[in-house]
Symmetry: C2
């Protein structure tokens, strides 16, 4: 629905230029209209802009020396905001929320009794329990006076108490309620750096760590730093997690697509990177960075080490910043696959100077602590002066939340053999990861058993991204309903079964192909019912539209 | 120091255009240089841009159809980032951090034994204790399994247990580790709306509340929505909290200054607003919003109700969005002053339709929970379609952190008479607020007793903003050291006493006047030593530079 508000705005502006100028002119003196027309007619200048952008830029020049300011409407909002889309929480979620309300006020009114949110990687919303050790440490840090009381020993594990004391000692004045250093508390960054070293076998510098409220603000910060205008481009995988397209749109840059190859399990081919880079350069785009999501979102593939080396070599050769989304590094399900950080790959190739940003989050992994909004980025290969600009940007928002900072340090340094919590920690972690692998397999098999559906294996991450061959009649019905065909399918699925998936359109896909993203996160006891509802729905849908 | 890196970048680009083009050209084909020159020579177009901006825009056009992308340097970063400044964590804090390291490695090496951070409103960093009730609820929500254990009753107050249960019940699946609704958990927004109604006497709609990670992200979101180009302006008080200037710079808009009148206790005159608005419009700026900070930061004044009515009337007449920074609403020290929210003022005038955004934060007030990064904005007077764009922007970052959300609800609904925690809550709160009032008075008196210093009363907020009449010799010495005169004073003060204040330059001031901002937050037992160190330093400084 929101998407269509944006569409309406674009139509409004593209089709009704005259009416729109007249309307705006109520609020401006007429003396400025001529300069506005001048501006619109600068046909000798490169056409860098979308029609929406350039019209509104004209409006912006026009809107001078007036009396009352025009009210805030879609026409007077920042057009970059209008252009930004975010499917993971788009129309489909609005419909789901409405259905959920209906179910609450009128139980039994739908052919299902609950909404299953498979649209977003939000494990605890679907019943996953938090890791006990992490939450014990957080509770003690929130209320350190517990550490002075005898009863606490009976309520908390000894190592959570020890860790809370260690964490508190790392904070100036033990103040968990104070703003920290703009990059995050130094002691916590030390812990994270040690965790990275243990993971990679190469040292990490705590001064390279920027703690963030989840991975998203880090991605926005990098886009803000790198994008100067629509002539700056960022190479992104298609399909991609729409944070990237949204952030690039908000910062006014150009999304330069490279396609993952579905036929080879969503392979990332360097030849495709080269082709798209050249094409963008031919259009006058300065490509500044390459986004690699590993393990893949929404595609679930885990990059092979050799492939990663090729990507690093490509970035080095072409002068690109490598933005490595590594938030699913703990989520590996394929026995023959292993996560390698891009930093480890770079170091193993002897490259210390390549500009590389690795994003990590507490929201993913086996812990799935989305609500805590913790994460970090490790920033290497930039000059001191550029780094100072990163620091300045981080400073403007003062610091990320301290609970999220603490949790990021715990994730990178969980209990070790011999700690009191180790057994429970290991069994919780192992239980979740093994269960996720089983759920992924069951859903993958279910999708592959459906008529016209093919689904690659989820080697990692939290998603499956099946492809659907939709009958022509269904595609036509979707056109009549003014929906993308996969959105039409997803809305019908939701209304019939309560299962929320995200249409492939939201992530990007090869034109003419249709997909949807489905998380593997529903609890295991719900999977059989999901599979059966999905199968029933799909059969009926295909029968309805069979040619 | 960071500021000077920015300066260096600007000089580099402004003075060395030819060298810089040659350097950039290593990475581009020569065929694009001519179009770049074309672009630089568009003298018929309105000169909207700073020299830095326009040069880099030219570069951006130039940087097309090349081979390797130019490396990330100051010259190739987003110029808006370079232009942004944030004094509260600027050069002075870097020097302080260095001194603190020196003190740790070499105690006794300085004429002081600790650094007193009076640069930022960060109460718990200076020893203020958190409110017990708030932290009890947070700890229980972090580790809900405590609620199943008998020992918990001995460790937590009964109302903190009841509140934690209530809060958990408001969360779908009681999942504190899940992403919430993009605007925040509905039940918590209900509580906040009820708190606003109790405060104002007018209803509040939970759907108007957007929970945020502190106030800063809300301010950024509004700037992102409203600013289309450098032709859009935002009216901001001078002096102002530099979040506003930084955010406007980052989003590419124009800061339109209105001056508070120091002679009348930092009065906000509508005649001044009109004058600056007209002047901006004459320059072709579309002024889109007015920022009012009440209680004032850095100035500490509390607006009178009649003055607020004038401001509302002005915004209505001129079509401006009113951005009301009300994060210090609990921090009132003057017996004859009272906080009135702008929403209450609007409603009391019968205006329901004026676009108004009120920012609130858990970082300030008597609680000062900066590290929790909680806050909200209440958004009223916008159309449904525009509101959907707010929602979309909030969605791109998924949600604010849940602990911060919970805390925001507690702050707007603290214990009530009859609750087990009420007495301790009231005494903690009252103790902090009374002590802050005493500290403000002592520091104000101390400043006013210094030669050439005048200081208005802190009626509210957490700061004093004394004015210093610096001797000409000191101003000359500062020029020689390439510092603003107040920055020179502040650095000398820091090096002599360990007291960190922020020079007035960072907030803006009438040209030719010098100020600094000093928080009233050091614990009360430290105030006498601060006053005596400050007085000694000031006497010596004035004697050194006496004409």
């Amino acid at each position: 629905m929101r998407k269509f508000v944006g569409e309406r705005a674009k139509r409004l502006i593209a089709n009704n230029t005259i009416a729109s100028v007249v309307k705006l002119n109520q609020y401006q003196t007429s003396s400025t209209l001529s300069s506005s027309n001048n501006c619109c007619n600068r046909s000798h200048l490169p056409r860098l802009n979308s029609p929406l952008n350039s019209h509104l830029r004209c409006y912006s020049v026009m809107a001078s020396k007036g009396s009352k300011t025009a009210p805030v409407t879609l026409e007077t909002l920042n057009p970059k905001v209008l252009e930004c889309e975010y499917a993971v929480r788009g129309e489909i979620v609005s419909i789901a929320q409405k259905l959920q309300q209906d179910l609450q006020t009128n139980p039994g009114s739908k052919p299902f009794n609950e909404i299953l949110y498979c649209n977003i990687g939000n494990p605890q919303a679907l019943g996953q329990k938090p890791i006990t050790f992490f939450r014990e440490v957080l509770a003690l840090c929130d209320n350190p006076s517990l550490l002075d009381k005898r009863e606490t020993n009976g309520l908390f594990s000894s190592d959570s108490i020890a860790r809370a004391i260690m964490v508190l000692d790392q904070m100036p004045g033990r103040a968990t309620g104070a703003y920290s250093h703009s990059q995050g508390i130094k002691g916590l960054r030390d812990t994270i750096a040690a965790g990275i070293k243990a993971r990679d076998g190469y040292p990490a510098d705590p001064d390279d760590i920027f703690l963030t409220d989840g991975a998203s603000p880090g991605v926005h910060m990098m886009m803000q730093l790198l994008i100067r205008s629509e002539k700056d481009g960022i190479l992104c995988p298609i399909p991609q997690y729409p944070l990237y397209s949204a952030s690039i749109a908000l910062h006014g840059g150009t999304l330069v697509r490279y396609y993952l190859d579905e036929a080879t399990g969503w392979g990332l081919e360097v030849s495709e990177l080269k082709k798209q880079l050249e094409a963008a350069r031919q259009k006058g785009i300065t490509v500044r960075a390459l986004v690699a999501i590993n393990p893949g979102n929404p595609t679930g593939q885990v990059l092979a080490e050799e492939n990663q080396r090729q990507i690093v070599e490509f970035c080095k050769k072409e002068g690109l910043v490598l933005l490595a989304d590594e938030v699913y590094q703990e989520n590996i399900y394929a026995a023959d696959k292993k996560f390698n950080s891009f930093k480890k790959i770079c170091r193993s190739m002897g490259y210390g100077d390549i500009p590389l940003v690795s994003f990590q989050s507490v929201s993913k992994g086996y812990h799935g602590e989305c609500g805590k909004r913790g994460g970090y980025m490790e920033v290497t290969g930039f000059s001191t002066e550029v780094r100072q600009q990163f620091y300045k940007l981080a400073s403007v928002n003062l610091c990320s939340n301290i609970s999220g900072q603490i949790l990021a340090s715990l994730v990178m340094s969980p209990p070790k053999v011999g700690d009191e919590s180790y057994d429970s920690y290991f069994s919780e972690r192992d239980g979740i990861l093994k269960s996720l692998a089983r759920r992924a397999k069951k859903l993958e098999d279910a999708f592959n058993s459906l008529e016209g559906v093919t689904c690659n294996k989820a080697e990692g991450a939290m998603y499956l991204f099946p492809r659907i061959q939709l009958p022509n009649k269904a595609i036509k019905a979707a056109e009549e309903a003014k929906k993308a065909a996969d959105a039409y399918y997803a809305i019908r699925l939701l209304n019939s079964t309560g299962i929320v998936v995200v249409p492939g359109t939201g992530f990007g896909q090869v034109p003419g192909t249709w997909h949807f993203r489905c998380t593997i996160l529903p609890q295991e006891d719900k999977i059989p019912a999901i599979v059966s509802r999905l199968t029933d729905f799909h059969k009926k849908f295909m029968n309805e539209f069979r040619g």
